[in-house]
Symmetry: none
Subunit: 224 residues, 2 copies
C-alpha cells in the first residue's frame, strides 16, 4: 500500500509518515500543492492524505482536478477548520472522507482503512492469467498440479505484470512500485527478480514468458 501525504506543516507531515510506516504503509511526503498534484496524477497511490491549506494549490483544487483527470485514488482530507462549509466543499470536490486536526493515530488508520477497503480489496483472491493462476491470499502460483509460493517482492512484481497484460512496463516503474519511490535499487535488482520469477513460472510448467524489450522494459506475454 502506497500513500501520498500532501501536507506543508513539516511536523505534522513527519508525524503522519511515522504513524503510517508503523502500520507498514509506504509513504511519499510532499510539502507543496502543485507538486502534490503532479505526484497524485501518476495514479500509483492507493490513497492520498491531503491538507486543505497548501502553498500554490489548495486541497479542494487538487481533489477536483484529480477527479477531472480520471484519477480515482481515494482521498482523505485534512484540515484545522471544523466548519460545515469546509466539510461540504471537501466532499463535493471529490474527497472520500474528511478529518479535522488534531486527531488520534487510530482514527487516521481507521479512516484510511475505510476508504481504501472499497476500491482496494477487489483484486483479492484468485486471478487467472494466461496459462497459470495466482492466488493472492496464499501467494501461490499454480498450473495444473504444480504449485509454488512467491515471496514478497516476487508477489509485487507479478501483480504488476498481471495488472497490465502484454504491456511494456519500464524498469523505472517497476522500481517505483516494487521497491518504493525513494529506494536506490538499480536495474540489476529488477533483472534479478525478473529472473527469479521466470524460474518459478517455468518450474510450474507455465509457457508464459516475461520478455524484455531493450531500453524500454519488460512485458509479460499472455498465452491463452
Amino acid at each position: 500500500m502506497q500513500i501520498l501525504i500532501v501536507e506543508d506543516e513539516k511536523r505534522l507531515a513527519d508525524a503522519l509518515r511515522e504513524i503510517l510506516s508503523e502500520q507498514k504503509y509506504m509513504t511519499d511526503v510532499v510539502y507543496d500543492g502543485k507538486v502534490g498534484f503532479d505526484y497524485a496524477l501518476s495514479g500509483i497511490y492507493d490513497a492520498i492524505i491531503l491538507d486543505i491549506m497548501l502553498p500554490h494549490k489548495n486541497g479542494f483544487e487538487i481533489a477536483y482536478e484529480l477527479r477531472k483527470n480520471k484519477i480515482e485514488t481515494p482521498i482523505l482530507m485534512l484540515t484545522a477548520k471544523d466548519t460545515i462549509p469546509d466539510k461540504v466543499s471537501g466532499l463535493n470536490s471529490g474527497a472520500d472522507d474528511y478529518m479535522t486536526k488534531p486527531f488520534a493515530p487510530e482514527e487516521l488508520i481507521a479512516r484510511l482503512k475505510a476508504i481504501t477497503r472499497r476500491k482496494g480489496e477487489v483484486i483479492l483472491d484468485e486471478a487467472t492469467f494466461g496459462d497459470f493462476t495466482f492466488n493472492s491470499s496464499t501467494c501461490q502460483l499454480t498450473k495444473g498440479v504444480k504449485s509454488i509460493h512467491l515471496n514478497f517482492k516476487e508477489t509485487e512484481l507479478l501483480k504488476l505484470f498481471i495488472s497490465r497484460p502484454n504491456a511494456i512496463i519500464s524498469k523505472e516503474e517497476i522500481i517505483t512500485k516494487v521497491w518504493g519511490y525513494d529506494s536506490d535499487a538499480g536495474s540489476n535488482n529488477v533483472e534479478a527478480y525478473v529472473s527469479f520469477l521466470r524460474r518459478k513460472l517455468s518450474f510450474i510448467g507455465s509457457e508464459t514468458e516475461i520478455k524484455s524489450a531493450k531500453k524500454l522494459g519488460y512485458r509479460m506475454e499472455c498465452k491463452p
Copy 2:
C-alpha cells in the same frame, strides 16, 4: 471475543470495559459516534455495545449504516431513555437487543452472550482442521489420545488460522484481531505466540505446520 464499546460518558465506558475484561472479553472503547462507526466498519468485532446519544453520529444512524454496509456484527443498544419509540427505532435501525441504563453487570453479560451466541457460535465447539481437533468450549487441542489446553491468546490465534485455512495472514491483522485494535503489541509478540502454538501443535503429534512467509505473514497449512 472482541467487543467495541461506543459510549461518550467516560465513567460508564470505563465501567463497561471493566465488566467485560473481567469476563475475558477484549474491548476497544471510543467516545465518538463517527469514530465508532469507522471502527465498527472494520468488521473485526464480535459485538458492539452502542450508546444512542453520541457526539457527531447517533446510535441509530450508526446501526442503520452498518447494516447498509453489510456489517452484521451483533449490536446491543444502550440508552437512558426507556421509551417505546426509542426501543422500536433501535431495533428497526438494525440493533439486535436493547438495554436501558442503569443495569446490572450480570444483565449486560447475559444479553451480550445472547446476541453473540446466534452468530458467533457457529464455529463453536468442535472444529476439525487438518489432522487435529479444537474444542473451543474447553479450549482443548486434540489429536488421537493426546490433548493440551490453550490459553486465551493461543486460542484466538488458532481460531484466526482455522478461519482461513492456508491463507497468509499478516502480522498486522493478527495483532488487530488477537491483541486488539489499539494495542501496542509488536511483531515479536506475534512471533512468540506462533512459537507457543507450534510447540503445542507438535506436542499433540500434529503434522500441521504454521509457516512463515517473510514480510507477508503466517499461514497454517492444512494437512488432510
